[in-house]
Amino acid sequence: MPPQDPVVGDESRAALGELVLYIFKKILPKLNQQHQFKLPNTKAGKSRSKLRHGLASLLHVGETDYDNFRVEAISIIIPIIVHPHTDSLNDSTSKDHSGTITVNCSLPLNIVTNATLLKQLKSLGYTDTFPCSIILYARKCCGSFYKLMCTLQQLEQGSNVEKAIVESIEKKDEYNPRDYIGNIFDNHNIYRDSFHKIEDTQGSGKVEIPYTYDIMVRLMYAICYPEY
């Protein structure tokens, strides 16, 4: 059973969005880091931006400010103690995305309504104020996604077969409802089963693939059996 939506008010979401924009617009230039998290104006860059826009919309950031919303993950922590570690979730694919911005401040204890949290903070000796940090960083999985998109971008410059592969992976419309990017692995057996089915019934070699078969299956078969 899927869990319930977390109860986070719109006001807090909007404040978080505003905070991110404030940091990127005003503070990063002051720290000489305005180039951090910027994406090129390429197909791959736009794909990654789209993901960021999805997060921005959840934080009620206006579309006009999407370009300044360059973050992919935000952690809110109470930095009581930090043991030695490295940030394994950070994007390590490029230098321009490996930065981490942390904002610390002290908050009054009377804003805490979560009873468990309040008890924990009091047990640690925080009676009036407690520390709070907000950390902004680029996510590793988004970096990997960006790399994939860069690969597809390169393939597009190649042969017709490569172009067809890219097209079939990216294409998602009413004629090709299969969303390869999102769903190719959900029905991961379909391709293997299709090949086995063809081989079982017609034998390998020159076989006829029905047009109703998925375009990706047809392409794969064309690559594996060039004589087809």
């Binding site: 109860v7 986070v8 008010g9 807090s12 978080l16 905070l19 404030y22 990063l28 002051k30 720290l31 999805g54 997060l55 973050v71 993950a73 952690s75 809110i76 922590i77 109470i78 930095p79 009581i80 103690i81 930090v82 043991h83 030695p84 570690h85 490295t86 979730l89 390590s92 490996s98 930065g99 911005i101 942390t102 904002v103 610390n104 401040c105 002290s106 908050l107 804003i111 309504t113 979560n114 047990s123 640690l124 520390p131 907000i134 999985c141 988004c142 996604f145 790399k147 994939l148 690969t151 190649g158 077969v161 490569e162 999102g182 190719i184 692995f185 991961h188 057996n189 293997r192 690559i223």
Partner: protein
Amino acid sequence: MNSIGTGDRRKKKKRKQNVHTQASLPSERENNIRPCERKETRVAGASCLESIPTLKLSSNVEKPQSMERNSNLDNPARFVTETQNSNISGHMRSSSTQKYKKRPQNRSHGNCEKGDRSAHGLTERQKALNQLQAKASLAPKDIQQRVPEDFEQDSRKHDTHFADCDWRIPRKGKSPQKTNVSRPSGDNQSTQERRICKKMKASSPPTDNKSAARQLFDSLTESKASDCCFVDQYLVVCKNSLQKLKKKSDFEFLSHNDGAFVVARNPQGQIYFATNLHLNHHFTINPQQKELISGAIANIKVVEVDKNELQDNFAVWNVDSDTEPFLKDIAKLIKTVFSGFQTIMKMPSAGDKRGTISTNIGLTATDCRQYPKNRTTILETVRPFLTKLVSLTIQFPSVVIPFFLLYQFSSCAASGPCRW
């Protein structure tokens, strides 16, 4: 010698100890030695069997403690608990006994402190034992007086030799340890060996900071959240701590790095920026640990709360100007943010002294509604789920997709959700 973990080695060691005990038995009988005295003799013999560094390092350690540590090797949990309150020096302490037990090969890197033995070393030691046994059989009357001293001297020679042998094994990314090994000018040491050792000494980096690093690391692992209030904390960000290490170990990120930034926490508000935190270790320390860190890490840059620090890869903003009240503005926003997000803050589990109260918002590789136990929390679903894309990135060829990759795709997908 707390790191001798493998059963075979322990058995061998026990066998040697028994041999020595048996050798001294006739003299004991003749001199009417009581069991406690006999035990003490055996302890001396046993410690002689250990390498020189131990003898030197354990000079401040009482022998019963040393025995207790040896006996606790079978039970790492007990070992850690009992040594936490002991006054054993940093060299002898190891909070990662279990790790060493799991990876015995790590201990054969010429690290004398950890009680490493090469196969060659064991053979030499066996020879020394045999010689002593011969001595014992020839002179049973005075063995009570002679054995500890003579054996110690002989074993010193041999153990020093073992250390030298271990030294000569070139290990990439790991400096050989040598500083605590004193080299007596024994007659059996050839001039060639001395020359080699001299060369090795000249080429090896100093390892003094290694013991300080271990001491600091032990202190860090033992520290609890209640030990240090936020206002007293310092944030430490090591520079290139992982890039220098071919093989990571528990505390080497402290001794192998290009320095560190030590940033005093500012309760009034603070902004800092750092790059490559996926490579650079970072942690917080208390004022006591700050004193230790200068011994462990060279080239420390301390940033106090009264100034801003702006560098290419590291920046700290502590002081607002009149025209740019960043910290004030941010504090207001964070207050509003926290009011709403505190409902989804994750508490550390009971007994988890490393846990931090936190919540993570953002793009994730998995659908956290489907897998609610994930540590990442997203507000709503942002499609597509990236797990599949990441898998595809790994498997995607540069030119064309071969047929067999279809099966790899399917195995990837079947492996279930990844936690990124």
